[in-house]
């Protein structure tokens, strides 16, 4: 049943959001800390586990795959409701600060990506006799 997959996806999101909100409250901030990320982990765990097979295979899987396929359209709708006018009217300071933060962060992607790689390589070396 398609609804089983949709329900599994929904349950993961609700649980993740609850944990994220509770995490935020525990840290004393009014923000959801990683709720979506936790929900994604729950969905990965559920779809890799035999116990949840009824909810994540066959027709049930289609209920999840539909939303996954709707992702780009939803992102386009999201782009269409950004406050672009405010960003454009923020003046030179906002423009420079935003652009500089992005450029520096882009440059760091290859640097930090190497952390895991070199870690994996040294682990392999460590395991080798």
């Amino acid at each position: 049943m398609i609804i089983y997959g949709v329900a599994l996806l929904s349950t993961c999101l609700v649980i993740g959001m609850l944990i994220g909100q509770a995490l935020g409250a525990a840290l004393g901030i009014d923000a959801n800390v990683g709720g979506v990320g936790i929900a994604m982990l729950l969905l990965v765990l559920a779809s890799n586990s035999a116990k949840f097979q009824l909810l994540s295979s066959g027709a049930s899987a289609q209920g999840i795959q539909f939303w996954s396929a709707m992702y780009i359209p939803i992102v386009v709708a999201m782009a269409a409701q950004q406050n672009v006018a405010a960003a454009a009217s923020g003046g030179l300071l906002a423009l420079v600060a935003g652009v500089a933060a992005v450029v520096v962060s882009f440059l760091l992607v290859p640097v930090i990506s190497r952390i895991g790689n070199s870690g994996a390589v040294s682990e392999q070396r460590g395991e080798a006799p």
């Binding site: 996806l9 935020g24 709708a77 782009a79 672009v84 935003g98 933060a101 992005v102």
Partner: protein, 253 residues
């Protein structure tokens, strides 16, 4: 006649949004195919068109929700709002292998903290360069360069003026929009082509909407990895901004 159209469009706003977005995407893929011979991805064009429409909507209505403030297109606000966006993001995790996540786990965590701190320092340095000497203003603008949510959260916590908070939101919006447009253009040169670098990318950029759209226009297969780390970023930013980062700025200025 106009009343009739308006009442049907408003009553069925979400359905109207599906149709409008569908036509937009069809048109974008047509442009990508005919104009750029597939070199620019259709979804990148669709996102750019969305942003252009949002700019137009914002200037016409004076509202803060882009095209969704236009009465007939209100459903776009629901379709692209936080609830369905998060729902769709989580669904992309379906079919992800746990091993891939474990492999990039450490780099992912490092990237979140590095991303928040580096963006903050860059934003704060720009504020100083523009002549700000008040630690509250410097911190708030720096936090805005983290994300447009961290900016106001930090600003309100440390008592920044409304004008500074607005500036910080604008800086965060510029960042988010630039990540949406720029990611597919630089993806190749920063090695953004595997789950691991996507997780690092999400952690460094942190703007959920920017990462979500940027990766969608680069390679949809990378979306779940980037989104996973990006969703922790704003929380970490809200945590560090009004505390450690504010204290550090206060000590310096």
């Amino acid at each position: 006649m106009i009343d009739l159209i308006e009442s049907v469009f408003i009553r069925n706003s979400l359905v109207v949004a599906f149709a409008v977005i569908g036509v937009t995407i069809w048109f974008s893929y047509l442009l990508a195919d005919k104009l750029t011979a597939g070199r620019l991805h259709g979804s990148a064009i669709a996102i750019a068109l969305g942003l252009l429409a949002a700019y137009w909507g914002g200037t016409v209505t004076g509202g803060s929700k882009g095209v969704a403030d236009i009465t007939l297109l209100g459903g776009i606000g629901l379709m692209g709002g936080g609830m369905l966006r998060d729902f769709a993001i989580v669904s992309t995790a379906f079919g992800v292998h746990l091993d891939e996540l474990k492999k990039a786990g450490l780099a992912g965590v490092v990237s979140i903290f590095a991303g928040v701190i580096v963006s903050f320092i860059v934003g704060a340095a720009v504020a100083v360069a523009f002549g700000y000497t008040d630690p509250i203003a410097i911190t708030t603008i720096g936090a805005g360069a983290v994300t447009y949510i961290v900016g106001p959260v930090t600003g309100e916590a440390i008592g920044a003026s409304g004008e500074i908070v607005t500036l910080s939101v604008a800086a965060g919006l510029v960042k988010s929009i630039l990540v949406m447009i720029g990611t597919p253009l630089v993806a190749r040169s920063i090695g953004l082509n595997n789950p691991q670098s996507a997780m690092v990318f999400g952690g460094l950029m942190g703007t959920t909407s920017g990462v979500a759209a940027g990766l969608a226009a680069t390679d949809p297969k990378l979306v779940p990895y980037g989104a996973m780390t990006a969703t922790f970023y704003t929380g970490v930013g809200c945590l560090l901004g009004p505390s450690v980062l504010f204290f550090a700025v206060s000590a310096l200025f």
